[in-house]
Amino acid sequence: MTALSLPSSREEAWRWADLTVLPALADQGPSGAGVEVPAALGDGPRLVFVDGRLDAARSKVGPLEVGAVDVRSEHPLGRLATGAGWALRLGRDHSAPGLVEIVHVGTGGASHVPGLIALEDDAQAAIVETFVGDGWANRLTAIRLGRSARLMRAVRLAQTSGFQSLRDEAEIATGASLVTTVLAEGGAGSRIDGHLRLTGDAAFAEMGGALLTRGEQRHEAAVVLRHEAEGCMSRQTWRAVADDTAVASLAARVEVARVAQKTDAEQSLRGLLLRRAATVNLKPELEIFADDVKCAHGATVGELDARALFYLASRGVPPAEARALLTRAFVADALERIGVDEVREGFAAEADAWLSSPSPQRGEGGAQAEGLGG
């Protein structure tokens, strides 16, 4: 893996990326150290991958397939994920038996795993993916949704160190719906890439999430939502929190092809800076070739609203608690689209735990640390 060729920050799409840790991680081997595997959320199918290999003892394969997956990508990181992986294929009108869980455990080194989710007409599924441990986890996920198929996907990036890179490539047919929500909260860096194509009329796609960064961490999302048919709707709701000297970057693009009249697209990118020297980068981009479209985008960066803090103080809420409350509300916007209650609550609890846990750089309470008005 020493011949790893990675994009540089001189390339426009990688302007804010820092992939410098990857060559060293790629050269390491897995340590095989024990990593605690999170408890199952339900009794649905569950795959546990350790360093990219299936741990059959802790998995419940069910209707899932494990083995070579035929997905290809031109993406500089996604194309590395070839060979053995997993697939979920559901026939017409079928539903997955309960919540599907994929757990990626890393013990060091690099693992590249492709995944395929192919839902035929009217099929539906809910999938949760969790990343824990160490090393570089690189994943390519191809998603194909047939007519009126529905997929809810929630991804939690919670490795304690290393790097997580995701590449999603989706095709969404007429009337189908894809909702992907990402929570990046661990100690590792990440890069989330998405290229979602709405290829059938009146399809719906949403991709969003919360990036929580501290220390010298970097989380980054770069998502393209491409409208290629009439009357489609898309939503991108991202929230970025940056503490210490961390960098959180969001680049979201809506592309509207010439045929995609009556498009309704919305982007909401918001950044919250908890400390001086932390950085939030935003790029809400529109590329529009059709004239009868509704594309709205909003982007803001700042600190917690002083008026809201004042209001809470006037109601007797201590400043630290008030800050924590408002930060939670800020993050919650991006997580509320998760359709499965226990998953949404689980993600919210993880985000809460992050917000109230000590920062490694200062060893004090995270969001509550800085006093009113900074």
């Binding site: 426009e12 010439r258 009249q261 950044g271 800076l273 908890l274 400390r275 001086r276 020297a277 932390a278 950085t279 939030v280 980068n281 935003l282 790029k283 809400p284 981009e285 529109l286 590329e287 529009i288 070739f289 059709a290 004239d291 009868d292 479209v293 509704k294 594309c295 709205a296 985008h297 909003g298 982007a299 803001t300 960066v301 700042g302 600190e303 900074g374």
Partner: protein, 489 residues
Amino acid sequence: MATRNQEAFDVAEKLSTYEWGFTSDLEQEFAPKGLDESTVRFISAKKGEPEWMLDWRLKAFRLWQTMESPDWAKLNIPPIDYQDAYYYAAPKIKPTLKSLDELDPEIRRTYEKLGIPIEEQKVLAGVEGARKVAVDAVFDSVSVATTFREELKKAGVIFLSISEAIREHPELVRKWLGRVVPIHDNYFATLNSAVFSDGTFVYIPEGVRCPMELSTYFRINAENTGQFERTLIVANKGSHVSYLEGCTAPMRDENQLHAAVVELVALDDAEIKYSTVQNWYPGDAEGRGGIYNFVTKRALCQGRNSKVSWTQVETGSAITWKYPSCVLAGENSVGEFYSVAVTNNYQQADTGTKMIHLGKGSRSTIVSKGISAGKSNNTYRGLVRVGPTAEGVRNFTQCDSLLLGHECGAHTVPYIEVKNPSAQIEHEATTSKISDDQLFYAMSRGLGQEDAVALIVNGFAKEVLQQLPMEFAVEAQKLLGISLEGSVG
């Protein structure tokens, strides 16, 4: 009745083509075609420049040879053969002009046709109390006339072509040239630093409010020439200046390159208002010909409470690559950017601004209106950056796009990079088309379709047009209508 018909024909004729597309038949002096060190030396020698200036140019040229043309913009730029152009073209005029009467009558007629008052008496003959505009006219590579020198001199204002300024005020030019846009800044700015042939230098002394609007008209006339002008404006403490810039070129089938650099410096409490109406030849309806307008414009708000306001109306050029920017280094400094960019037929524009907030309490406002028609592409690209020590920064950005027709594209690429939590950054954008209701209403009141569209477009761009000085606002409104001619229906 016959007269009225004739008038109508005249108007139709005027509207149907690029009105400024004529060429002037002048004896021209060219540098040999192509670009190498000898071209740079030729230009410097022609200008009678001091050694330091030549060294500066050569340094830039050597650097340029190692650089690559930027490719990040949403533009399809055909490869440019830098050897197949003249880098210096000057109308053969007497070496020194004692008065404007000695100006070549053909050049004079050219500017008359363009409607630009380079004759002082013409302005003076106007209504008493009317605002005066001092004009510097740059014809291909050289400045041919600068008016109102005496009056400006009395106020202490220096308004010279940059070649003259290098000769007469070398200390000022040397101090500020390249301070805001350094020679290594970008491919086109570096090229400009090597081969710039003329441009304007303005210096407003401390506490002076420039008594009149200053204006430069750029005109490309000769075939196969590039125009590389350099503008440098320094506003000393507490001064104020309003500067206007207009550009035209003849209609030609080949593409011509215009790579200008504009540097503005505002010291404590100084204010510079810089307005541009860019109307370079955009190419014909099939996309043949037109100017490549690759311009670097940047202002340094160095002083406390300094302010720079960019206003641009971009209707011309086959390709526009232009990002007038403000480096807001001074405490409480203010940057503004108001832009209307219109593209029609096969035009491409990738334009916007950069607001770099370094000073405490600095504020910026960005209002961009993009109008795309025909088969054109119009991109707003902007950057708002807040440094870690810049407390209390405010920025408001609004980007609106209007699409006329279904074969054009409107794109928005805003970058927001914030390192200070006290910053308040807001970005809003909309994309829309002219609603049938609006059009129907305007037409039911007796307006023709073209006029109705022009009216609605002017309304859409109103926030920006209001920022223009009176003389330009009228011209800009007219231009918007003409540029969109034939785009509807």
